[in-house]
Symmetry: D2
């Protein structure tokens, strides 16, 4: 892959090779989430052995990664803006007593992909097509008429597998530009004693988020250089039949991208619209990594419901690893 840059011809070829359109019928709107079956959920629940719940969400606030220095345009992605509709100070001042109850209330303004989040299947198009061959014009200013995130409302449950790649490679953190290969993933799974199987939710650590948190600055994180999935992992994803894939970076795939100028996020061009892969980004995995390193158990029940915002192409989430 290092030898030459991906071209549009390469993408076309990959699109032909990995296309899952029609695999779950012509009306499907959830793609690889279909891989998880009822039995898998029952089996995943059996992985709960110590009753420990680990959240993989960053808190949603003004300290989030948006707004940090980056050469990549933010295009409206701000950090969540949380404001109050009524407060305890209002209560203290006596301003609420005419209501007969002292209650606070609040609201949020948030881009759906500003923090820990799922990319829905309406998020990326291949030419004029979205997942399963739907026309991209199904996503208007009124939202996604097809593949809205609300279609996944009871789907984000299954076996979670955590792949701590830097740990397996003997480093704290992968370097920016490190393209994680299928071989890296296999080697990590092997080192951890787990096997990725059909219907799994696979969470991959690069260590980049922890490095940014340790540095006390998100500069370079949103849209900047990053370790991440190589384009060739498409084969690994197809083979493993995983339900969804998530990582601790802004955009899952390696940056700088492996593609020619004019092609940005080539892996996304294929994963979402062609394969129907739901992806998690900006997952906070530090605590999970520490727990797995300690008990040596890299599999768990994974529950990460999207907020069913009708027609949304993504969703913030509070993903839970339940061990």
């Amino acid at each position: 892959m290092a030898s030459r840059k991906l071209t549009r011809a390469d993408l076309r070829e990959a699109a032909d090779k990995y296309k899952n359109w029609g695999k779950w019928g012509p009306a499907d709107e959830i793609g690889t989430l279909n891989y998880t079956r009822a039995d898998d959920i029952v089996a995943a629940a059996r992985l709960v052995k110590k009753g420990k719940v680990i959240s993989l969400a960053l808190d949603f606030d003004q300290r989030g990664p948006q707004g940090a220095r980056s050469s990549y345009p933010a295009l409206g992605r701000i950090n969540p803006l949380h404001t109050m509709l009524r407060t305890g100070t209002d209560a203290y001042a006596g301003a609420l007593d005419h209501r007969g109850i002292r209650a606070a209330d609040d609201m949020v303004v948030m881009p759906l992909q500003c923090g820990t989040q799922w990319d829905g299947l309406g998020h990326v198009f291949y030419e004029n097509s979205m997942w399963n061959g739907y026309d991209c014009r199904e996503v208007t200013s009124q939202g996604a008429q097809k593949c809205g995130i609300e279609k996944t409302k009871n789907k984000m449950v299954g076996r979670g597998v955590f792949l701590d790649v830097p740990r397996a490679l003997g480093v704290n953190c992968l370097e920016d530009g490190h393209a994680i290969t299928g071989a890296d993933l296999d080697r990590t799974a092997e080192a951890e004693g787990v096997v990725v199987t059909r219907g799994d939710f696979v969470i991959v650590r690069t260590g980049q988020m922890e490095a940014k948190l340790a540095a006390g600055s998100w500069d370079g994180y949103p849209g900047g250089d990053a370790p991440g999935f190589a384009f060739e992992t498409l084969a690994w994803i197809q083979r493993t039949e995983l339900a969804a894939l998530a990582s601790d970076t802004w955009g899952c795939e390696v940056r700088p991208n492996e593609s020619e100028p004019g092609i940005v996020q080539p892996w996304h061009w294929i994963t979402i619209p062609i394969m129907g892969l739901t992806m998690g980004e900006i997952f906070y995995v530090k605590e999970l990594a520490e727990d797995c390193a300690l008990d040596g158990v890299y599999e768990f029940l994974f529950v990460a419901p999207a907020l069913p915002i009708t027609g949304a192409v993504g969703s913030p989430t509070n993903p839970l690893a339940i061990k």
Copy 2:
């Protein structure tokens, strides 16, 4: 209770009687969620037997219950406003191609208690106090410095118990103003063959939401008359040591309230700030009710993570019953 209206003296007495402050230490910020222990989570996971996931969330959109006719002031609670930052129609028009990727993106403006949601412990104050005796001034325009919803980020997991009260009472839907008693809850549990125990997440059906959905109008739902918990259920809640309680109405407790003029939502005055009870409202339970009626199983693994919005006094949620 029907005989006379609750007075401030009654509330004061209840506050003394049911106060849980200090029970989990002076620094506690999550209240009754502490009742759920690791073993309970392991046991709850064992309830997953058929691998079925049922979402208890209404979709979040402009068809939500806010904005409906009501004599109760909305005070800024609008339905979620979902807008796009980039669309498939932009892609189709060629407007995104300079970016090298055809991707849609979106955002939401939403009051945190506009739809299916958790009331956090910063939501209601008793006089100048919030849960565990914190000063109400901890909730400023900058949010809740104490008891923010983010403190619950790994806590909303445990055994779920569904109490279908109208079914047990032989009706489709409880009437507005019907005050559900502890005896009603016990009778329902008995009819269903379940026992509510320490650390459970209890979801109670009144049928009101389904009636509104069937009528095609939310008029009267937000802040209107409703069936709901009687003030006397405080004793039942205290005795059962449940972790959290949820219902399918706008505000859990019975309306018109059982209190004198000038006291609104008296049950809330006690449950949240005095007992430390996290509460779920506007839960959609139709599918769960049908499933439980069919298989006769009213207990399940319940996972309903809040979005950890820092300092929030509530949170939208997509609660999952996993059977």
Copy 3:
């Protein structure tokens, strides 16, 4: 006009007849606002004789016309949602003192056409074209690359002429469905002793808003039946060479529309994209009407700056009549 419904052929014919494209050069983005010249502004300023300023804005708040009952879809147009970032109650509670200043701050979430507002030239398209022949694809999710409201930032100044049509016709309020003709406008001007000339800002009263305010309900106002401009006023507008036109209704033109099913707001199809006419809607003219009736002077200096929000297709405004 009453005899038959407007067809697409009629609109095509009108588009040919009234097309101003190119009139102010191929790069023009402000249309008929060009009619107002420097001398006109000097002359308009001379109309200020008593030093009285009358605002034509409704206050922007939750009591605005959006959200009222209507068969017309709101499509995201809500009333302005004003929230505080810091408050006087925070100050009172001592919560701001660590900042060294007791200051309140606030924000707003508002559709740009939710209240008293200007329709910009990017608001309506004729087939695939916007004003001056620009491609409609210039208005993407990133806003209007052409004809954004910010292009008018120093243009909304000139002679204002107020046409109180119901007063001239001897009624309090025009009835819903009343199509105001060019003859009605001429008759009103004549009755008032004014002549509409090139570059004027013409504000037309129907009385509908006052009727809604008097009734205490906006039901039927947003997108409902209304008095308003007949399609044939296009000739009058073209002839008078006015700079901009405003009214006290939701959408200026008569409703029900004069067109066949499938054609909504036919007058808008021509005025904005074909003629380049900036239009004001939801103007509050009660005080102006009273003042003009009293002093008999129906002309004044008119200043109604748009907020220069880059790429906006409309803008809230606080229009001032200065007499």
Copy 4:
């Protein structure tokens, strides 16, 4: 002033000295805007001699000054976020045709003091008091019950006087930390041949904004060091009886402040709550400065209506100098 830092005792003394409470009656909510009389407006209109309109607004967009590097906390002040509800690309894609009209629509999320703006009289408190002695508790999460910006809706009209201080002092731009004195203002007025009189709207240039624009970065602008009004200008303001005062900086007064630690923006402590002075900030004066330098005329008709957002403590504005 340089000799020692302002203390709370100094502020108390200034509060006693400059207090205008009651000057316009106990119910007044607009303070010094009362200074402008009808005759002044008539006279100001006579200043319109060449028919030129100059906007003093920065465009409102993501390129605004918020979010720039600063040691001062932003506290929720973001740049305006403009999003579309419907677009020309939707039109092009055929997605709007079922509506019968091809129309774009949009909305904005904006802090009211994020760009060119007026500080309303509810913005700053002196201890527990706001302008005219109102209790600061009048400003709750529901907005300002007293002194809301909507009270000024027909008041921002009068004679504008532009004081180009750096030009009078023979520099391009005043340095950060330069405290503009009353003598500086007098000297500037004298050099320009203007006299500031009762009821004027005075706009003062420091050159800082132009320096930031030239540098291509707002870093240091929001809440950073800046040239600005010295505390001693309070005497000048009181003497001139101006209606409102504006500048091209983030916060009008000199920074670092002239006060002891623990007192931030001491001049604001007095101007707004004690004197009742409405202030403009982040005014863009480059074009006005160039025009005045060219024609030597530093007075004009000034019209700068606030958006009457009910209960707001500030407002974006598009101020117009009409010469």
